[in-house]
C-alpha cells in the first residue's frame, strides 16, 4: 500500500473534477431556453394540420436565437424562449410561446426592433430570471410592466399621434404633466423652474439614482415614480413637491415620466408627424408653469409644504393696481428668498413671447375700471404712529418683523423685490382696498376705518423699516 495517500487524492480529485466538468458541459448543452424550444417544436408538430406543416415544424432547428440590432449595438435573445413571437399558429398558446398580442409587430417587425426597445429587460440574457431582471439581478432596466408599456411608444412617436392611435395613456400623461404645473418647479429641455430637479433623462436613470428606501414592493423606477406621485413625502421625506392627483392619474404621470429619456433612438426608427411642437396658449402656459403654486390665482393660500403664504395673483384688486409692467417685473425677476423663481429667459428657458402670453392671460382677468386714486403725494407719513398701527393691525398676519413666514398668512413685506418694485401708492391702495379672495381686509373701510393719513403712516413705517433692514 505504497503512496496510497497521493494516489487516492489523485483518484478522488480526478473523479470530482470529471463529475463537475460533466455538470458544466450538461448546463452548456442544455441551457434553459433549449427546453422551451423543444416544447415549442413538439407543440407545432402536435398541432400540425397536414404533413407539410409537420415536416416544416420538424425541420425547425433548435438553436440560440439572437436579434442583433446594429443601430443600437445591442442584441436581443428573448426569442430564444419567446420563440413563436411572430407565428400566427400559436396566437393562443401559453407563454412564452404565444404570438405577440395585437397588431404591433405588423408595423414593428421583430427582426428590426427586437424586444427590449419597447419592453426593456436584459436582452442579452439567456435565462428568464436575468432576462426579465426582476429582483436582485444587477440590471437597471427590468421588463416594463405592461400597464406602463405605452411610455416606450413615445421613444419614436409624438403625443399628437399617440393620442389618436394606440397611445391614449401616454398622451393623457403628457396633458396631465402640463396641466398640473410640473414645470413650475422642474426643468425639461432647460425650460421650467428651479425648485425641483430637472427631469431630463429621469425615465432611464439607473435604479441607484432613486432613493428606494421607502418604496414598497419592487425596487424599480416605475414603482418609485408611481408611489412618489401618490405621496411625494412618503418616498422622499424632504420633498417640497405639490401634487394633487386622483385615481389613475399617478399611473398616467408615471407613464409620462418614463418617456423623459436621455437617449434617443436612431433617426431611422423615429416616426413623428409634426416638425414643430404646437404653440401653446397663455392659459396652458399658466397651468404648466404657475398653477402648481398659485392654483386658480384668485385665492391666496398658506402652503403647508413651502411654509409660506402664496399670494393670489389674479384677483381683481391686485390686477387693478399691478399693471403689465409690474407683472412683467415680478415674473421675470421672481421673488428673492421665496419659492417664486425668476422666469426670465436665461433663468427659466421661457421665451419672451411665453412670458408675454402668460401676462396676457393674467391681465385678461383685470377689471375694466381702475382703482380709486390715492392722494399719496399730499400726505406725509408719521413713522412712529405707523409703527403703532402696524403692531395693532398688521403684525398678526405679516409678523412682527413684517417678514411673513411660517404659519403666518400674510406675505413678506420686506422682500427686496417687493420694496424695490412696489411704490408707496401701491402699498397704500392695497391697505385701503384689501384683496378680495384673500385674508387681507380693506383697512380703509368697514370696522377698521383707517383714514388716509393712518394708511400713509403705516406705509411710511414699512418703507422706513425696510430701509433699515437692508
Amino acid at each position: 500500500m505504497y503512496s496510497r495517500f497521493y494516489l487516492s487524492v489523485l483518484l478522488i480529485s480526478s473523479l470530482l473534477f470529471l463529475t463537475y466538468m460533466a455538470l458544466v458541459a450538461f448546463n452548456g448543452v442544455m441551457p434553459e431556453w433549449k427546453y422551451y424550444q423543444l416544447e415549442y417544436k413538439d407543440l407545432l408538430i402536435k398541432n400540425a394540420k397536414d404533413d407539410a406543416a409537420r415536416k416544416r415544424a420538424e425541420a425547425i432547428p433548435v438553436k440560440l436565437q439572437q436579434i442583433y440590432l446594429s443601430a443600437f449595438n445591442k442584441e436581443d435573445r428573448c426569442t430564444s424562449c419567446h420563440i413563436g413571437i411572430d407565428n400566427p399558429l400559436v396566437a393562443n398558446a401559453k407563454l412564452p410561446f404565444k404570438k405577440h398580442s395585437g397588431d404591433y409587430i405588423a408595423n414593428h417587425p421583430v427582426d428590426k426592433f427586437g424586444c427590449t426597445v419597447c419592453h426593456e429587460g436584459q436582452g442579452s440574457a439567456t435565462n428568464k430570471r436575468e432576462a426579465h431582471a426582476k429582483g436582485h439581478t444587477y440590471w437597471d432596466y427590468p421588463t416594463l410592466p405592461l400597464s406602463y408599456i405605452q411610455s416606450s411608444c413615445a421613444k419614436c412617436h409624438d403625443f399628437d399621434m399617440l393620442s389618436k392611435k394606440g397611445g391614449d395613456k401616454v398622451a393623457e400623461g403628457d396633458r396631465l404633466f402640463r396641466e398640473k404645473g410640473c414645470q413650475g418647479c422642474h426643468k425639461i429641455n432647460k425650460v421650467g423652474g428651479d425648485l425641483g430637479k430637472p427631469l431630463d433623462g429621469v425615465g432611464n436613470q439607473p435604479i441607484a439614482y432613486f432613493s428606494m428606501k421607502h418604496v414598497i414592493g419592487d425596487h424599480t423606477v416605475p414603482t418609485w415614480l408611481k408611489q412618489h406621485f401618490d405621496d411625494p413625502r412618503a418616498i422622499v421625506p424632504t420633498s417640497e413637491m405639490k401634487v394633487k392627483l386622483k385615481g389613475p392619474e399617478s399611473d398616467l404621470l408615471t407613464i409620462f415620466a418614463l418617456t423623459l429619456r436621455s437617449d434617443e433612438l436612431p433617426k431611422a426608427y423615429r416616426y413623428k408627424t409634426y416638425a414643430q411642437p404646437p404653440k401653446q396658449e397663455g392659459e396652458t402656459l399658466y397651468k404648466t408653469f404657475c398653477s402648481a403654486c398659485h392654483g386658480e390665482g384668485t385665492q391666496s393660500l398658506y402652503d403647508e409644504v413651502l411654509k409660506r403664504t402664496i399670494p393670489a395673483i389674479m384677483n381683481p384688486s391686485f390686477l387693478k393696481i399691478a399693471d403689465d409692467k409690474n407683472l412683467e417685473t415680478i415674473i421675470k425677476e421672481g421673488r428673492n428668498g421665496t419659492q417664486m423663481t425668476a422666469w426670465k429667459t436665461v433663468a427659466s428657458g421661457l421665451s419672451e413671447d411665453d412670458v408675454k402670453s402668460i401676462i396676457g392671460y393674467i391681465a385678461s382677468k383685470r377689471p375694466a375700471e381702475a382703482h380709486e386714486p390715492f392722494p399719496i403725494k399730499d400726505l406725509t407719513g408719521d413713522v412712529n404712529h405707523g409703527k403703532e398701527l402696524y403692531a395693532a393691525h398688521c403684525a398678526v398676519c405679516h409678523g412682527q418683523d413684517a417678514k411673513g413666514g411660517e404659519n403666518l398668512i400674510g406675505i413678506n413685506l420686506k422682500n427686496p423685490t417687493v420694496t424695490k418694485m412696489v411704490d408707496p401708492e401701491f402699498l397704500a391702495v392695497t391697505i385701503r382696498d384689501g384683496r378680495e379672495g384673500t385674508s387681507m381686509p380693506p383697512f380703509g373701510k368697514e370696522d377698521f376705518a383707517l383714514n388716509n393719513q393712518d394708511i400713509v403712516d403705516v406705509v411710511a413705517y414699512i418703507r422706513d423699516s425696510s430701509k433699515g433692514s437692508k
Binding site: 505504497y2 503512496s3 495517500f5 494516489l7 487524492v9 458544466v24 458541459a25 452548456g28 442579452s124 439614482y209
Partner: protein, 518 residues
C-alpha cells in the same frame, strides 16, 4: 552500400518501419523508467522536470510538513493563466464593449460562466494560498540558511499576485470594478497627504504621477481600461513568470526544501512513497548521484540523510499530480456553485455606497479611513519592509525545518496571537465608538493625524512588542515570530472588519442586513 550489404532502399524501408520508435526515442531519451537509473534520467533529462531533484526527501513528501501550499498557489496560477487565455478569446477591452462581452461570456459562451468564475476564484485564491504558503515557510523557519533571498522573491511574488488581481478587477467595467478602482486611484494619490503637509507637492507630486502612470488620468476612464488590461494580460504575467522561475530555481540551488536536522522516517511515511527499487540502479541507496557530489556549497542532501530520500520519479511526481488535480477539482467545484460578481454597468455619476476596494485591500481601506497616506502607502510599505528584513535580522539556525521551532516558539506565537486579537479589536471598538483626533480637535493639523492614528499606533505596538519578546527571550527568531503572527492577525481582522462590518459612508454595522437601503 553499407557494411551489412543492404541496399539504400532497404535501409530506407527499415528506417520508415522504425520511425515510431526512433521518433519517440529522439524525444524521450530513455524510454519508460524501469530502474533507478532511468528514473533519475527521466527527471534530469527532461526540460520540464529537471527543476526538481532526482531524489526527494521523505520530509518533503509528508503532507503535514508543506501542506502543499506553494504547489497549490502555483497550480492555481496555472489555472488562472489557462482560463485567462480562454477569456481573452471573448473579452473586449473597451469602455463600450467590456461589460457586454463579460455578459456574453456569462450568457452565451459554452462553459463561459464557469471559466470566468474559475479565473476569478483561482486568482483570488492565489492571494490566500500565497499568504498561507508564506506563513508555512515562516513558521518552519524556511527563510534561513541560504534561503534569505528566495524569501524576498516570495514577497515580490506576493505583491505581483496582489497587483494582478487588482488589475483584473477593473476589466468587467461594472459598478463594482469602477468604484473599486476609484478607491485605488485615491490610494495611489494618497502620498499627496504627506507632500501637502510638507508643502512640497509642487515639486514632488508622486501621488499624481503614479496614478497617471497606471490610469492615464486621475479617475478610471477609457484609457485606464486599455492600460490596466495591458498590465493585466501582458506586463505583469511576464514579470511573474520570471520571478516564479527564479523562485523555483532558487529552491533547488538553496538546498531544496527545509527539513529537521534530525530526521527519522516513520511507518506512516510509507503511505506517501512507492516501494524502493532494489535492483538495477547505478545509485546505491546510501549515496546520492552524479555530478551533484562534485558541486560546491549547499547542494541537496549530499551525503546527508541519504537513507531518507526516495526517487523523485514517481514519488514526487505522483504527489504533485495529486495536488494539481486536487487544486483544480476544488477550484472547479467552488466555481460551479459561486458566481463571480457582476453588477450594473459602470456609472461614473452614481457611486456605489459604500464604494469598497477589492476585499484583499479592505484591510488597507480601513487604515485608509484614518489616514490616506499611512493606510495607503506608509504602513503597507512598512509591513513589506518588515517582511523583507525578517531573514536578515533573524539568522538563528536553531531548529530550522520544524513547525514553530519549539515549545517556546509555540507559546510566543500563541501569546502574540491572543494579544494582537485583543489589541486590534479593542482599538477598532475605540475608533468606532469614540472617533479619533479630528473628532475631538477639529483644527488639528493633518500631519499629526498622519502619524498618530490607529494604524500607525498598531504598527508601533507590533514593533515594540517584538523588541520586547527579543529582549525577554534573547532570541531574534521568537521576536520575528511574534511580529509575523501580529501581521497576519491584523491583516485578517482588518480585512474581515472592513468587508463585513463597514457599511454605507464607512459606518459600522453589525451585519449587511442593517445597511440602510439606498
Amino acid at each position: 552500400m553499407n557494411d551489412n550489404g543492404q541496399s539504400g532502399l532497404a535501409r530506407l524501408t527499415d528506417n520508415l518501419k522504425a520511425i515510431g520508435n526512433t521518433f519517440v526515442g529522439s524525444v524521450f531519451r530513455n524510454g519508460p523508467p524501469t530502474s533507478d537509473k532511468t528514473r533519475a534520467a527521466a527527471i534530469y533529462n527532461n526540460f520540464f522536470m529537471h527543476i526538481q531533484g532526482v531524489k526527494t526527501h521523505i520530509n518533503t513528501l509528508r503532507p503535514t510538513y508543506t501542506l502543499g501550499l506553494g504547489l497549490m498557489s502555483f497550480f492555481l496560477f496555472l489555472a488562472v493563466v489557462a482560463t485567462g487565455v480562454f477569456l481573452m478569446v471573448y473579452y473586449n477591452p473597451s469602455v463600450e464593449n467590456a461589460f457586454k462581452s463579460v455578459k456574453n461570456i456569462n450568457f452565451v459562451v459554452f462553459g463561459g460562466k464557469v471559466m470566468r468564475n474559475m479565473h476569478k476564484w483561482a486568482g483570488e485564491g492565489m492571494i490566500i494560498f500565497v499568504l498561507l504558503h508564506m506563513a508555512r515557510v515562516f513558521f518552519t523557519g524556511s527563510y534561513k540558511n541560504g534561503r534569505e533571498f528566495n524569501w524576498v522573491i516570495g514577497i515580490v511574488l506576493l505583491i505581483l499576485v496582489y497587483v494582478l488581481n487588482l488589475t483584473g478587477y477593473l476589466l468587467p467595467w461594472d459598478q463594482l470594478s469602477y468604484w473599486a478602482l476609484v478607491i485605488v486611484a485615491n490610494i495611489m494619490q494618497s502620498p499627496k497627504e504627506l507632500t501637502d503637509s510638507l508643502n512640497i507637492t509642487r515639486f514632488f507630486d508622486v501621488g499624481t504621477l503614479s496614478t497617471e502612470f497606471f490610469l492615464a488620468g486621475l479617475v478610471p476612464g477609457k484609457e485606464a481600461l486599455n492600460r490596466v488590461y495591458m498590465f493585466h494580460v501582458m506586463v505583469l504575467p511576464m514579470v511573474i513568470y520570471v520571478f516564479i522561475g527564479i523562485h523555483f530555481w532558487r529552491i533547488r540551488k538553496d538546498g531544496g526544501m527545509t527539513k529537521p536536522e534530525v530526521f527519522t522516517a516513520q511507518e506512516s511515511d510509507s503511505g506517501y512513497v512507492f516501494p524502493p527499487q532494489k535492483t538495477g540502479g547505478i545509485f546505491p541507496t546510501y549515496k546520492t548521484y552524479g555530478l551533484m557530489e562534485l558541486a560546491q556549497g549547499k547542494t541537496p542532501a549530499v551525503d546527508r540523510d541519504v537513507e531518507n530520500t526516495v526517487m523523485s520519479w514517481p514519488n514526487l511526481l505522483v504527489a504533485e499530480l495529486a495536488v494539481l488535480m486536487f487544486t483544480l477539482a476544488v477550484a472547479l467545484v467552488y466555481s460551479y456553485y459561486v458566481d463571480a460578481p457582476l453588477k450594473e454597468l459602470a456609472n461614473p455619476l452614481i457611486p456605489e455606497n459604500p464604494a469598497k476596494a477589492p476585499w484583499y485591500f479592505l484591510g488597507l481601506q480601513e487604515l485608509l479611513s484614518y489616514s490616506a497616506f499611512m493606510g495607503g502607502v506608509g504602513l503597507p510599505s512598512l509591513a513589506l519592509l518588515g517582511l523583507v528584513l525578517i531573514p536578515y535580522l533573524d539568522r538563528e539556525l536553531y531548529n530550522v525545518g520544524i513547525w514553530f521551532t519549539d515549545k517556546q516558539g509555540r507559546n510566543v506565537s500563541l501569546e502574540a496571537f491572543v494579544i494582537s486579537v485583543i489589541v486590534i479589536i479593542g482599538m477598532l471598538i475605540f475608533a468606532v465608538k469614540f472617533g479619533w483626533l479630528r473628532n475631538w480637535f477639529p483644527d488639528i493639523p493633518q500631519i499629526i493625524i498622519t502619524f498618530v492614528n490607529p494604524g500607525s499606533i498598531w504598527v508601533g505596538f507590533v514593533i515594540l512588542w517584538s523588541l520586547h519578546v527579543i529582549k525577554r527571550t534573547g532570541s531574534t527568531r521568537l521576536g520575528a515570530m511574534a511580529m509575523f503572527v501580529m501581521f497576519l492577525v491584523s491583516y485578517v481582522i482588518l480585512t474581515y472588519f472592513a468587508t463585513e462590518l463597514r457599511g454605507p459612508n464607512w459606518e459600522f454595522y453589525w451585519s449587511k442586513d442593517q445597511w440602510p437601503i439606498h
